[in-house]
Symmetry: C2
Subunit: 201 residues, 2 copies
């Protein structure tokens, strides 16, 4: 996903302006240093709107995450015609590429920090449970179409999708928490797995 | 690693008692709620020793992490005689098993939270860079011995080890941040990869 979701490009209403400000503050300060005050600094309207509608920074951050999945669900062209193999290549590129989500390493960093909140916060965990499932289902449908058209081996699409999604969690986490994340070596091996275990011979 | 490192079992000196107290407080409160005060509550001696030697909770937590790697390096029997295939099975068990590090899900949670600090803190990032490299080197040496004795295919040990290590980061993160982490499906696929891409035919 390199295309920005519409609300970041051109917020349609006050709620979207608030979420855009939250996104900007999150990228600038990270989870550890974000405050409602700093979100307010990015918000062009009266800050009282922020305090009126939201209980605190986590309330805003969770709404941002939920909103982003909803928009991602709309942005994914589920029925797109591109060959399954090409679509898998794009996913592998995103998992290992230098490119971060929307080209923004700060947002990747913030996502890793937000995910860690799910270790002790049920509401964050609900969010990541939902977004991981969304990613798995998207990959599963690509794998299924490749199995059906014979370009893939007759693998179990749900199992393949789980491997991709968990590996994606691993690559994003490594990229922002390790100065030498070994992602090139990992990518070479993952591509060997795709060639030998997924693509038809 | 199910065996506790010696300093948790039977601390040898004041420094080890402090680190044991830090470990206990971390498991109980998690990174988000740990304080020097709470570490002091777990420490049987004078709390002034804590304040005297350490600049703050992060200073203590990083020392705990570093100390743990050092002990892990000593605990790993690098030259152990077990067949490479069995040693790989044990690693896969640890990556996907219900069992957490030292059987302690609270410590797994805390490790995911601490790793997320590395997204914005250079010193934590140095630690995880070092500990990830340690894990990769350990796996690489197992893979190399399997390649040499012919029980594995002639794979690139560094690439294989990178895939295992990044996947391990993914599984640990998923387990504590997702209520439905799909680790069974992922494991089935990862075991298929090990069978088809690693073990000799």
């Amino acid at each position: 996903m390199n295309e920005l979701p519409p609300f970041l490009d051109d917020p349609a209403d006050t709620q979207e302006e608030i979420l855009k400000a939250t996104y900007a503050a999150l990228c600038t300060h990270g989870y550890s240093d974000i405050t409602i005050q700093r979100i307010g600094d990015e918000f062009p309207k009266s800050k009282s709107l922020l305090y009126h509608h939201y209980d605190g920074k986590d309330d805003l951050l969770r709404e941002l995450l939920d909103y982003m999945i909803d928009q991602a669900e709309e942005m994914i062209p589920w029925d797109q015609g591109t060959a399954a193999e090409e679509r898998i290549d794009v996913i592998v590129d995103h998992m290992f590429g230098a490119e971060d989500i929307w080209g923004d390493v700060d947002f990747s960093r913030a996502l890793v920090e937000l995910r860690a909140q799910a270790a002790h916060d049920d509401q964050y965990r609900e969010h990541f449970t939902r977004s991981d499932r969304f990613v798995r289902k998207a990959i599963e449908s690509i794998v299924r179409s490749g199995v059906e058209d014979g370009s893939f081996q007759s693998v179990d699409p749900a199992q393949t999708a789980a491997m991709f999604q968990v590996m994606g969690t691993g690559t994003m986490t490594q990229r922002v928490t390790n100065d030498d994340p070994a992602l090139e070596e990992c990518r070479a091996e993952f591509e060997r797995y795709v060639r030998d275990c997924l693509l038809a011979e």
